[in-house]
Symmetry: none
Subunit: 229 residues, 2 copies
C-alpha cells in the first residue's frame, strides 16, 4: 500500500481530503505544519507528498525546495488557491509532478494520485512474470522457450508457444477445437483443424519426458491438457 503525506493547514480541507483518501485505501498521514513535515520525513518513508502552497511559517515552495535537496527522488503535488499562472510555472520549476488548483475535486485528486503511483510502481518492477512451471518443465512464453529441468532447452515456434500457453490457461479443463482455433488461428475450419493436430503432436513430443503431463483428445470436442501436481 502506498503511503501519502498530506500537508494542509486548512482544517476543513485537510480533514475532508484525508478522510476521503483514507476511504480510497491510501495509507494517509495528515499534518498541518511545515516543520513537522521535515521531522516526519526524517523518520518515515512516504511514496508521495501533497503540499499546500500557502502555509504559515514556511510556504510550500520553500518547503519543497528543502525536501528536494534532502530527498531528491520523492514526488510531490502542489495544492493551491492561487491559480496564478506564474505560481503554476513556479510549482513545476520546483520539481512538482502535478499542480492542482482549489477548489479541489477529491475524485480528480484520487485518480491523479493513482495514475502517478501506478507509473512509479511499474517503473520499479520491470519484471515480466514469464516463467510458467509445468511439471518438470519451465515454459517461457515471452521468449518462446521450454526448458526441461535445467537440462536442455527447446525453442518453440510462435504457433507452438501460443498453443501451449492457451492449453496451460485452460489446464485440466476441456479446450474445445473451436476455442483454440478461433483464438489462435482466427478461423475454425477443416484445414486449420488439421494444422492444430500437427501442433498438438509437436507439443506432446516436447512434453513427453514428464509422465504427469498429457494432452488428451476428447473425441469430437477438443483437448484436455492434464497436469498432475
Amino acid at each position: 500500500m502506498n503511503k501519502i503525506l498530506l500537508l494542509e493547514d486548512d482544517n476543513a480541507l485537510g480533514y475532508l481530503l484525508s478522510e476521503y483518501l483514507k476511504m480510497k485505501n491510501f495509507h494517509l498521514r495528515w499534518i498541518s505544519n511545515s516543520t513537522e513535515a521535515l521531522v516526519l520525513l526524517e523518520k518515515e518513508k512516504f511514496d508521495l507528498l501533497i503540499l499546500d502552497v500557502m502555509m504559515p511559517e514556511m510556504d510550500g515552495f520553500t518547503l519543497a525546495q528543502k525536501i528536494k535537496d534532502l530527498y531528491p527522488t520523492i514526488p510531490f503535488i502542489f495544492l493551491t488557491a492561487r491559480s496564478l499562472k506564474v505560481d503554476v510555472l513556479k510549482g513545476f520549476s520546483f520539481g512538482a509532478v502535478d499542480y492542482l488548483k482549489k477548489p479541489i475535486d477529491e475524485e480528480e485528486l484520487v485518480v491523479r494520485i493513482q495514475a502517478l503511483l501506478a507509473r512509479l510502481n511499474v517503473a520499479d518492477s520491470p519484471t515480466t512474470y514469464d516463467q510458467i512451471k509445468i511439471g518438470d518443465y519451465c515454459f517461457m512464453p515471452n521468449v518462446q522457450q521450454l526448458k526441461y529441468n535445467d537440462d536442455y532447452t527447446i525453442s518453440l515456434t510462435s504457433r507452438e508457444s501460443e498453443l501451449l500457453l492457451f492449453l496451460w490457461r485452460h489446464k485440466n479443463q476441456l479446450a474445445t477445437h473451436k476455442e483454440i482455433l478461433t483464438t489462435i488461428w482466427g478461423e475454425n475450419d477443416y484445414f486449420n483443424k488439421k494444422s492444430l493436430n500437427v501442433f498438438i503432436s509437436h507439443l506432446r513430443k516436447y512434453l513427453s519426458k514428464d509422465s504427469n503431463i498429457s494432452i488428451e483428445n476428447i473425441h469430437n470436442k477438443g483437448f484436455l491438457f492434464k497436469v498432475l501436481d
Copy 2:
C-alpha cells in the same frame, strides 16, 4: 531530445501548439488523424503522446485504448474542451498521465511535459556503465571496445556498440525488431531491418568465443540475447 506526437484535429490549435513546442526544443510531430497515429507508432518511437479527446473517425478514448494494448509503456496526455468531470475520470482510467482542459495554456503545457519527461528519464537510465562483463568478454560502451579475456580487443563501430548495449540491457528477454529499430535506427522499415541483420551477424562473430553467449533469432519477432552465468 524527446520525441512527442501531437494528435490534434483543430488546425489552429494544432499549429499553435506544435510551433510553440518546437520552439521549446521538443522534437515534435503533429498529425490530425487517429489512424495515421497508429501507422506512425508502428514505425517510430515517441516518448510522449498528446491526444485530443474529440476527434473525427476515432475519438481519443478508443485510440488511447488501442495504444495502451499495443504499447503499454508509452505515456500520454489528454487534451480536451470537455471539462466534464466524468471525462477527466474516464481519461485517467484509460491510463492517461495528465489531462488538460481547453483553453490550453501553452506555458503550462510545456512545464507539465517537462516535469513528466524529467521523471521518465531519470527512471529509465539510472546508470551509465563503462565496463560491462559479458561472459568471458568485457564490453566498454563508452570507448566502443570489446575485450576478450585480456587476450585481445575488438574495436566496435557505433552501430555495433549501440546494438550490443541495447541487447545487453534486454538480455534474456525478447528484444523485438521494432524496439531495436525504433530506438537505434529511429525507424522501423524493411531496409533497416536488413541492416540490423548485418550487425547481428557481426556481433555473433565477435562473441563466438564464449559458448555461454548467444544471440538467437525468434522468428518474426526479434532477437534473444542469451547470457548464461
